[in-house]
């Protein structure tokens, strides 16, 4: 039986304490709301910004000019562009510099070398849009700022379910307190709820199959917000369009733009058209915008390397500084242990497995989802993506909007809702079930989901037949997931994650079936045509009367 903690109440409940969640909590508290933030691990070092970032998408009028048109065009043509609602992007442009200045004033060095410095992810003779900064301690600093504003942070308390009332409005959430010997259910009533659980990792088989947590973005982000939003009736968008990162092989990390080198073949010849020698101003954009480069070269028998040979000593120092702020001190330690010297050695890069980022919950520019009282921040969003900057801008805005709407909403008792009893039943079943022949552990479920997604909802080959049979397989895994058993708080948490992943996998497959055309990496071998009628149209999915309903909506231009 699951233990129940005394229910809590607040104006704004924030699910997830990464950069976006902390920014949401800070903004809501500044608006005078009482705020509870539920975090799976510890906000001081959790999420994809755990040990830092070194670049953020930023528009500064005094640097880029008063008219942001050129900046916007550059950003929308970059690796984060393509499937964004442009009203979100235009709002972003008006906000990001304020957030950057805010962070600077809180002690996150946003111009560590004196002036605003834009380098990397850039084309020759084009506007540079990525601001370099020193973010290694961004999480402890944002945690301190949230606490200063009176935010209650519940660490080791992952968010699991949204509680809605009869009218379908969000009135709170169910979390699980993992601080004790056994998990305990924590119900929190809230006038509005902000989802900020990040991107979704662990959906596809990683490049090191035996090391599931060797992922580019934080592997603790496992789709809790997306799965809960869908169950609560929120509309999801762009789940069909695959997205993947690339980087060092097999030490999987984000931050390829922090490297200062040239993508080259084994012969040292540059592969892309942009640079012929390492430059810190540009990096090598080829890996960002020729998304198929690594796979295509591999198929042609060509490994691809990051070749830094000829780099100036001071640029190498700059790159090391960047990597240490990008959360890659572990990678630097590993290079040292291995004796890798970038003056003489080049490191092989490859394409990573897909993740969900910029594919997820549909929200408007106020971060409102289609469920009243429910807000989505940053990497939860399916219609906007700007990574760290997205977390700063839409984290903050989601919290502000949630606090404003909380003023107009009355508090309802979330603990009295039927959802809470369903959660209690689910948790008790996982806890009380004996490990046995019919009771899989979380890792079996997670691995099974990854296998099906990798083969039946792949990057290279998608078809109605593969997707429809893949859907059946995922549904069978979902049934088996209902029989999972755990051993302690830790594996209980992983069981809930595996369940959410199986749910999110189903949504991706259903949306991929809906898009009967090839577009980008959504490679439908049964519909090879890219239909211009679908330009600027997004696939959506939502639950109605317990059934998934897919549809289409236009991109906001």
């Amino acid at each position: 039986m699951i233990t129940r903690k005394t229910p809590l109440a607040c104006d704004v409940l924030v699910a997830g304490g990464g950069i976006a969640g902390l920014m949401a909590a800070i903004a809501a508290a500044e608006e005078g709301a009482s705020v509870i933030l539920a975090e799976k691990a510890n906000t001081r070092r959790s999420g994809s910004g755990a040990t830092g970032n070194d670049h953020i998408l930023c528009y500064i009028p005094e640097v880029h000019g008063e008219d942001p048109a050129e900046w916007l065009a550059e950003a929308e043509a970059s690796q984060i562009g393509g499937y964004n609602d442009m009203d979100m992007f235009r709002f972003y442009v008006t906000q990001i510099f304020d957030r950057v200045k805010q962070w600077d004033s809180w002690g996150i060095p946003m111009r560590p070398h004196g002036d605003w410095e834009f380098n990397g992810h850039a084309k020759p003779d084009h506007m540079r849009i990525w601001l370099k900064y020193a973010g290694q301690n961004q999480k402890p600093i944002l945690t301190r700022e949230a606490l200063r504003r009176g935010v209650t942070i519940l660490n080791r308390t992952p968010f699991h379910e949204i509680v809605t009332n009869r009218r379908g409005e969000a009135i709170g959430g169910v979390c699980v307190d993992l601080n004790g010997e056994a998990p305990a259910m924590q119900v929190i009533s809230a006038r509005s709820v902000v989802l900020a659980t990040g991107h979704t990792s662990r959906l596809y088989t990683p490049k090191t199959p035996a090391w599931m947590f060797n992922t580019a973005n934080c592997p603790a982000c496992s789709g809790a917000g997306r799965a809960a939003a869908y169950r609560a009736g929120a509309r999801m968008v762009n789940m069909d369009l695959p997205m993947h990162h690339a980087g060092p092989k097999y030490f999987t990390r984000c931050g390829k733009a922090t490297w200062i080198g040239v993508y080259s073949g084994l012969d040292g010849k540059p592969i892309g058209p942009f640079v012929t020698k390492p430059t810190k101003e540009l990096g090598d954009l080829t890996g960002d915008i020729w998304m198929g480069m690594f796979a295509q070269k591999y198929k042609a028998g060509e490994p691809v390397f990051m070749n830094c040979r000829g780099i100036a000593e001071e640029d190498l120092d700059y790159m090391r500084w960047g990597l240490s702020n990008e959360g890659n001190t572990g990678l630097l330690d590993h290079m040292e242990e291995e004796g890798i010297d970038l003056h003489r050695h080049m490191v092989e890069f490859h394409q990573y497995e897909p993740i969900l980022i910029g594919r997820g919950i549909d929200a408007n520019v106020r971060c409102e989802t289609t469920v009243p009282g429910l807000y989505a921040a940053s990497e939860e969003l399916g219609n906007f993506r700007a990574d760290m900057g997205g977390a700063a801008v839409f984290g903050y805005e989601s919290g502000r909007q949630a606090a404003l709407s909380a003023r107009t909403r009355t508090e309802e008792d979330a603990a009295a809702a039927g959802t809470v009893e369903q959660c209690a039943g689910l948790y008790s079943a996982i806890l009380d079930r004996e490990a046995g022949p019919g009771a899989p552990d979380w890792r079996e479920i997670n691995t099974a989901v990854q296998q099906i997604m990798t083969e039946y909802c792949a990057l290279e080959v998608r078809s109605e037949r593969l997707l429809s049979v893949g859907l059946q397989y995922i549904q069978r895994i979902q049934q088996k997931a209902e029989q999972m058993a755990c051993t302690d708080c830790h594996t209980f948490m992983r069981c809930l994650e595996a369940r959410d992943l199986a749910q999110v996998a189903e949504l991706v497959i259903r949306c991929a079936r809906e898009r009967r055309e090839t577009r980008g990496k959504h490679n439908r071998v049964d519909y090879t045509f890219t239909n211009p009628m679908n330009n600027d149209k997004f696939v959506t999915i939502r639950q109605e009367d317990g059934r998934p309903v897919t549809g289409w909506r236009s991109k906001n231009k």
Binding site: E181, T215, G310, G330, H334
Partner: protein, 79 residues
Amino acid sequence: MPPVIDKTKCTGCRTCAAICPLDVFGRQSAGIRVPEIRYPDECWHCNACVLDCPAQAIRLRFPVPTMLLYTDAPAISDG
């Protein structure tokens, strides 16, 4: 990618177990000074424990399958 703790340096402050984003350390038994590492294969090699250990007692051990692949770099040529 498990952290390895130098027992002679560790003061038992538990910072590492408290801040690990993946709960690699898991639940700690009472009365033990050096933290246990219960889920070593769930490490994300984020290095948070290494950075935040006040005694500088932690290093990561990188499993062989995650090693970087590298080779000699020829000079970059346009031709």
